[in-house]
C-alpha cells in the first residue's frame, strides 16, 4: 500500500474518533554528545520531517491526549510535559496535503497546541510508526539542513526559547540525563541550553547548595583521565525545587 492510499484509508476512521481542527505537537528534547536534539519523524508521504504530533480524541482530556500521542508515536512514557504555545495561523498547514481533496481529515485547518518534553534518549529504542519512514533524533545544529513540514520549525524554536527561560527558574535535567551522570555532564547540559559557558567552581557550589543531587559511590571508569564521580538526582528535593523555583542562572 502506498503512503497516499494509507492516508486516505485512515481519514474516515479519524473523523469518527477525533476532534476536528485541533492537534497537539510535542517537541521532545534529548541531550547527547554535548548537544541538544529533537525527536522527529519522517513521514512516508512527502518525505518531510515532522514533530510526532497527533489529534485529540472526542472522549479524552487534552492532557491525556498528549500523553497518549507521545506513547503511540514514539513509545515514550513518564515524561515532563509542558504547554508552551498555540499555533493558529489559518493557512499554517495549507500546502502540506495539497494533493488530496478537502474531505481528507488531515487536510482540515488545524490549530495545534505545542508541548515540550524532556527525555533521556537512552531509555528507549526508536520505532517509527506505520506512517513514518524513520523516527530519529536530530541535533539542533542539523536542523537548518533538513526540510521541516508546515510551521514545525517555528514550533521548535519557540519550544527552545521556553526551555531556556524555564531553566533559569526551575531545575532541568531529570529527564535529559541518564540515571547516573557526572557533574561536568550536567554543567554541559546547562551550558548548551543557556547558550553560554558557566564557571565550573560556581556551578559546582550552586548545584550542590540546591541539594537536588545525590553523590553515588561509583565513578565513571574508562576515560583517559581521573574517573569522575557519578551523581543522580535526589527525587524528593528535585521536586521541591521544581515547585519553589531557583535563583537565576
Amino acid at each position: 500500500m502506498d503512503s497516499r492510499q494509507q492516508i486516505l484509508n485512515r481519514s474516515n476512521e479519524l473523523k469518527e474518533v477525533f476532534l476536528p481542527h485541533l492537534s497537539a505537537d510535542p517537541v521532545i528534547f534529548g541531550f547527547d554528545q554535548n548537544e541538544l536534539k529533537v525527536l522527529l519523524l519522517k513521514m512516508n508521504y512527502r518525505k518531510q520531517w515532522l514533530l510526532p504530533g497527533g489529534y485529540v480524541r472526542k472522549d479524552e482530556d487534552l492532557d491525556e491526549a498528549v500523553v497518549r500521542i507521545l506513547k503511540e508515536r514514539a513509545g515514550i512514557t513518564d515524561v515532563y510535559l509542558e504547554e508552551f504555545g498555540v499555533f493558529g495561523k489559518k493557512n499554517r498547514s495549507e500546502f502540506y496535503f495539497e494533493d488530496f481533496d478537502e474531505t481528507l481529515f488531515h487536510k482540515q485547518r488545524f490549530v495545534t497546541i505545542g508541548y515540550y518534553a524532556l527525555y533521556n534518549p537512552d531509555r528507549f529504542n526508536l520505532i517509527a510508526d506505520e506512517f513514518s519512514e524513520t523516527c530519529e533524533w536530530i541535533y539542533l545544529s542539523k536542523l537548518p539542513e533538513i526540510v521541516l513540514a508546515m510551521d514545525h520549525r517555528d514550533i521548535i524554536e519557540k519550544a527552545l526559547l521556553t526551555l531556556r527561560e524555564k531553566i533559569s527558574h526551575k531545575p532541568i535535567g531529570y529527564n535529559l540525563l541518564p540515571e547516573k551522570f557526572t557533574l561536568s555532564e550536567l554543567q554541559k547540559l546547562y551550558e548548551v541550553i543557556l547558550g553560554k559557558e558557566l564557571n565550573r567552581g560556581n556551578f559546582y557550589r550552586k548545584i550542590k547548595n540546591l541539594g537536588i543531587l545525590k553523590k553515588l559511590d561509583e565513578q565513571r571508569k574508562g576515560g583517559a583521565h581521573k574517573a569522575p564521580d557519578l551523581y543522580s538526582f535526589d527525587e524528593e528535593n528535585y521536586l521541591k525545587a521544581l515547585e519553589n523555583g531557583l535563583s537565576s542562572w
Copy 2:
C-alpha cells in the same frame, strides 16, 4: 425574545462561520481604586458570569480571532494580549448548556485558549452585547462572591499567576494606567499585582533607572496635599525594556 430562543437561533449561524470545538477566552485586567479588576459579562441565559470569550472564524488566524472577540464583546482595541494557557478538560463545559440538545453549537465540547490582556478602563464605556445582561468590571476581591460559569474561575486564577510572573521580568502598566499617572499610582499597581509592599525610595530609583518613564511638566492638582508630578511611559524605552526583560522585583 427570551434568551433561550435567542441562543437557539444563533446556533446554526455559528456552525456556518466558526470552527467547532475551539474557543478563546480573554481575561482583561484593569486597575482602579488601588485594586485589580477583571472584565466579565453576565449572560441573559443562566445569569452566571463569564469571560467575554468567543469562537474562531474558519477564515481567520487565531490571533485575529482574539482581537475581534475583544472588540465585539467589550469594544476594546489596541491592547497587549498574551496567551497564557489552554484549557481542555473534556467535560469543562458539560453542564452549562444542559437544557439544550446536542445539536446546539454552544453545547459542543470546547477547548479554550486563554489570553490575558491589560486595559485602562478609563478609555472606553462598557456596553454589554446582545447576549449579555451586563458587562462589568469585577474587583478581584469580589470574585469569591459571584458565580462564574464552567471553569472560568480557574482560568482567571491562572491568568493572574502568569501576570504576576510576567511583571517580574517585563514592565507592566502601559495599558493599565491612564496616560498620565503619578509614581505612587504606578507603585500601587506593582504592589497589587505582586501582592506585597515595596519600599518607596527603592521603587523610585529602580523605576527611574529603567528609563521607561517620562516626567511631564504637570502635576495632579486638587488633592489635599502637595501635587504629585505626573509621568507617562517613554514608549521607545518601554518597548526596549519589554524585549530585554528586567531584573527581578
